[in-house]
Amino acid sequence: MNFDLSLVTESIPKMLAGIGITFQLMALSAVLGLILAVILLLMRISGKWYLSWPAQVHIYIFRGTPILVQIFIIYYGLPQFEFIRDSVFWPILREPFGCAILALTLNTGAYVSEILRGGVLGVDHGILEAGSALGLSARQKFIYLTTPIAARLALPAYSNDFISLMKATSLASTITLMDMTGIARTIVAQTFAPYEVFISLAIIYMILTWIIQKTFGRIEKYLSRYVNP
């Protein structure tokens, strides 16, 4: 048993060929997930039970089950039904890529909406009262007061969830997608050199994590530029 460095230099470029898919999965489901999270949040704080209940059920289900199960239900499970195979969504659900995006979006949306809710609940009451005193409507208060402050409060937790999402994209390899992890598993199956390949890949993921942390740190600094230390 020895560590074969030539295998490392050989396999890193091969794995990096899959970084595009990792980025696509990450970016698309982050954007769609954030939109879903805002919708779920608005449903929850709407005060109407027929809106807040479905949102809460969605959050409960998607936070209470493993993401792997969600991916498998969508990719392997849904085609069991004829009406899904006949529906307009079939071109998306037929592809592992579309299924991975859907699963990651639904999953991250549930988590992020809880994070955003924490941010909204953290907004100081005095600020909202000041808004009322200035004659702002409920909608104006939400847009001009709650949103900017809640976004700043939620950002540290959001960056953690973003990293979780980045790590979860590796599960797309279980439904035949050739992202970085998928390629690494193929190389290991051919060479049976798990140390070299998986450790190199782990370092690539750690660098990505580091970049995400730094980027969010910058955004946090920018958003808090008017906050007294």
Binding site: R63, G64, F72, I73, R185, V188, F192
Partner: protein, 231 residues
Amino acid sequence: MDAVTGWWDDYFWGSMIVLQVFFFSLLLMVLFGLIGAGAKLSDSRVAQKIASAYTVIFRGTPEILVILLLYFGSAIALTAIVQVFNPDVKFVDVPPMWAGTIAIALIVGSYATETFRGAFLGVRPGSIEAARALGMSNLQTFIYIRIPEMWRLALPAFGNHMLSLIKDTALISIIGLNETFFVAKQAIGTTGEPFTMYIVVGCIYLGFSTIITLSVMGMEKFGARTGEGAR
């Protein structure tokens, strides 16, 4: 749902395996977390560096990669060790259950390190001073003052760590652990109803996480029964 008939016992035993993995990984996770927190809080520079490396590595790497590396990696390492003593052995198989249990305990333990460290630092200095003023020894202070305050501070995050553990057990099926996920794959092979079978798996996990959430809520209530003192 008819298709599930006849598979219930397999799902039951699969759930038992999930519980078993959860139980052992919980013990190991607490152990790793406490060691990590102890190292981070210690005066030794080396221990601090090692603990930071541990948290950076296991928080920055996808869970599935850690599981795969530990499973295949330990098999190769063990084979090499055994071959020193007995060159005839071609390959040593590592049980996926143990490789998986250790892997998810290491991952979640890296998060628990920060939780335990935060809880230790969160104990109010006033409480410790009060204990000193009452003439308590170091050990007494630790048992009667620190621990009761610490577990209350750590509980909410610790509940999330337990949820991560139970959900991560599903990933161990990738290396062939015959838990519920694995049962579903077999059941699909004969019944051809993937949706039904995976929904059952989802319901089992949802049940487990509901039980954990409710128990943590109960413990939080128990912790807060004495009112303000517990913060």
